[in-house]
C-alpha cells in the first residue's frame, strides 16, 4: 500500500484518484498522519469505529432476515420441513444481490463525488448500505432499488454536503422514494414474500390459501371487531411469532429479539442515544394504548393491543436504528426525549388512523427528521431564557 502512495500524490500519474487511495488506506489501516502543531488528544472512537459498531448491531437482524426469507418462502411452497440451513442459504442468495446493489450504487456515487470535490471519502454509507437491504421488501426489483439508492444518496446526502450534513435519513429516503414511485411493488400481497426461485433454489408451486400480506397489511384490510392474523400458510399467528420474527415483512424488521440484541449493542457501546430509543417506545406505547382505549372497526389497527403494536411492522426497527441516527435526530438531551416520543406517537397515529398507510414508522421518522432542528432550537432558546431569568431576579 505504501509503495503505491507516490502515484496518488499531486503530480503522480494517478493524482485524480487520490481520494480513492486515501479512502482505502484509512479503511484498511490506521493512517500515520498526526497533528502538526500543538497538543491534541485523539479519541480512538472515530467515525469508522462508530459505523462498524452499528453494522455489528445490525448483524443479528441481517442473519435472522436471511433465515426468515427462506422460511417464508418454503412455507409458501408447502415445504415447511426444509432444513434450517437450506432456508438460510435461500435467504442468503435472495438478499445478497440487494446488498451488492445497495453498496455498489451508494459507494460508487460517494467515490465519484469525493473525486470531483477532492474530499476524503467518508464512511457514512457503510451503515446506510446495510440498512437499505433490510428495509426494502425482498421482492423489489433490483433496478428499482438501484435508482432509489442513487436518488437518495445524491438528493438527500450529497447536495446537503455529504456525510454528517444530511437532514433526512438516507436509507429511509431510499424506501420512501421506492414507496411513492412504485407503490404496487412496495405493499400488498406480492411484496414481502419471495415466491419465485433464487438461483435455481426453492422451486415449487404455491400452496392453496397462500397469503403474502404482512400482519399489518392484514390488519388494514380487516373487517369486523375481531382480528385474525395468519402466516403465509394460513395458520394463525400471535404476538409470540412477531416477537421471534417468523412472520412476513421487510427483511430486517420482523424479529423483535434480534432488534433488541442490536439495541443492546448500541446502548452498551454508547453509540445510540437511549433517550431517543426509550421515548420512542414510550410514545408508541402511549399512542397504542390511547388507540386501543377507543377500538373501532373503522380503524382496525386500533384493535391491536399496545404491546403488540410495538412488535408488528417496522416500528421497533425504526425506533432502534433509524430514529437514533445522530446526524438527523435532535442533539439536546431534552430535545431527544421530545423527538423520540413524537416519532413513537406519529408512527402509531399514521398506522391506526390513516388507512392509506398500513405502517407509519418510515413517515414518522422522516417527518421528525424535518422537525429535529426546530426542537433543538426551542430547547436551546428556552434554556437561554431560563438562565437569563435567573440572573434578573437577583
Amino acid at each position: 500500500m505504501d509503495q503505491l502512495k507516490p502515484h496518488f500524490k499531486p503530480g503522480g500519474k494517478l493524482a485524480k484518484l487520490e481520494s480513492v487511495y486515501d479512502g482505502m488506506e484509512s479503511f484498511l489501516f490506521t493512517p500515520n498522519d498526526t497533528s502538526k502543531s500543538g497538543t491534541h488528544i485523539h479519541d480512538g472512537n472515530d467515525l469508522k469505529r462508530t459505523m462498524i459498531i452499528v453494522v455489528v448491531a445490525l448483524l443479528p437482524c441481517l442473519l435472522y432476515a436471511m433465515y426468515n426469507i427462506g422460511l417464508q418462502h418454503y412455507l409458501a411452497i408447502g415445504q415447511g420441513d426444509a432444513g434450517v440451513l437450506t432456508m438460510f442459504l435461500f435467504g442468503l442468495l435472495a438478499l445478497l444481490p440487494v446488498i451488492v446493489v445497495s453498496y455498489g450504487v451508494g459507494l460508487g456515487i460517494e467515490f465519484v463525488s469525493a473525486q470531483i470535490h477532492h474530499k476524503e471519502i467518508q464512511e457514512g454509507f457503510l451503515v446506510t448500505g446495510m440498512l437499505i437491504p433490510l428495509i426494502v421488501p425482498i421482492n423489489t426489483p433490483l433496478w428499482m432499488t438501484a435508482i432509489a439508492t442513487a436518488f437518495a444518496v445524491i438528493f438527500a446526502k450529497e447536495v446537503f454536503g455529504g456525510t454528517g450534513m444530511n437532514i433526512f435519513n438516507v436509507a429511509l429516503i431510499t424506501r420512501a422514494v421506492l414507496f411513492f414511485s412504485y407503490p404496487s411493488k412496495m405493499s400488498g400481497d406480492a411484496a414481502f414474500v419471495k415466491t419465485d426461485s433464487v438461483f435455481g433454489m426453492g422451486d415449487g408451486k404455491l400452496i392453496d390459501g397462500f397469503t403474502g400480506a404482512t400482519p399489518l397489511g392484514q390488519v388494514a384490510t380487516n373487517v369486523g371487531d375481531t382480528l385474525s392474523l395468519t402466516g403465509v400458510d394460513s395458520t394463525p399467528i400471535g404476538l409470540c411469532d412477531a416477537f421471534i420474527g417468523n412472520i412476513a415483512g421487510s427483511p430486517g424488521e420482523t424479529s423483535m429479539v434480534c432488534i433488541l440484541i442490536g439495541a443492546l449493542i448500541l446502548l452498551v457501546t454508547g453509540v445510540a442515544s437511549w433517550r431517543v430509543m426509550l421515548s420512542a417506545f414510550a410514545g408508541g406505547l402511549a399512542m397504542g394504548a390511547l388507540a386501543h382505549a377507543f377500538p373501532s372497526a373503522t380503524y382496525p389497527a386500533s384493535l391491536i393491543d399496545p404491546v403488540a403494536q410495538l412488535c408488528y411492522g417496522g416500528f421497533a426497527f425504526a425506533a432502534v436504528f433509524m430514529a437514533t441516527d445522530p446526524v438527523t435526530g435532535a442533539r439536546t438531551n431534552a430535545g431527544q426525549y421530545i423527538y423520540g416520543f413524537l416519532i413513537g406517537v406519529i408512527a402509531i397515529l399514521i398506522r391506526v388512523y390513516n388507512s392509506g398507510y398500513p405502517e407509519g414508522a418510515m413517515l414518522a421518522v422522516l417527518l421528525m427528521n424535518a422537525f429535529a432542528p426546530l426542537i433543538d432550537h426551542c430547547v436551546v432558546s428556552f434554556n437561554i431564557k431560563r438562565r437569563l431569568g435567573r440572573t434578573k431576579t437577583k
Binding site: P141, M144, I147, F155, V177, F180, S181, S184, K185
Partner: protein, 207 residues
Amino acid sequence: MISKKNKSALFNPLSQENPVLVQILGICSALAVTANLGPALVMGLSVIVVLAFSNVIISLMRKTIPTTIRIIVQLVVVAALVIIVQQFLIAFSYDVSKQLSVFVGLIITNCILMGRLEAFALNNRPWPSFLDGVGNGLGYTIVLAIVAFFRELLGSGTLLGFQVVPQWCYEHGYENNGLMILPPMALITLACIIWVHRSRNAELQEK
C-alpha cells in the same frame, strides 16, 4: 427594428435572465401544469400571448397612467387578456382547458407578468416591450417544456399523449415512476435544471 437592445430584450430572457431559472418567478404554475407535456406547452403559449400583449398595452399607456394607481391598471389589462385567452381555450380546445383548470386564470397572479410590466413596459416603447414579453414568455415556456418532458416520459411513459416507452420494456419489468407525477418531483426536476444551468453559467452562481 432589430437593434442590439431589442435583440437582448428578446433573447436574454431565454437563458441569462430566464424568469424561472434565474429570477425564480412563476414556480407555482411550473409545478402545477407540468405533469404532461401538452398542457405545459399550452400554458406556456398562453403566458407568451398574455405577457406580450399586456406589455404592449401598458407600454402604450405608460405616459398616461398615474403612478399611484399603476398596479390596478396593470391588473385590469392582464385580467382582460387572461379572460380572452381562457375563453379562447374553452372554445377551441376544451380538454386542455379542463386539464389546466384554474391555472390559466391564475396567470394573472404570475409574478413574471407584474415583474415585466413594472420593470420593462413602464419605461420602454411598445415594440421593445413586445419583444421583451415574447422573450420572457419563451423563457418560461422552455423551462416548463423541459420539466414536463421528463415528468411525462418517466412518469407516464408517454410524450404529448403518445406511448414512447415500448411495450417490450414493460414486459421485462420496467415500470413508470409514480413519484414523477407528484408535485415534489417537479420541484426537484426544476432544481436539477437550475443546477445544470448554473454550472454552465458560472457568473450566475451566488457566492
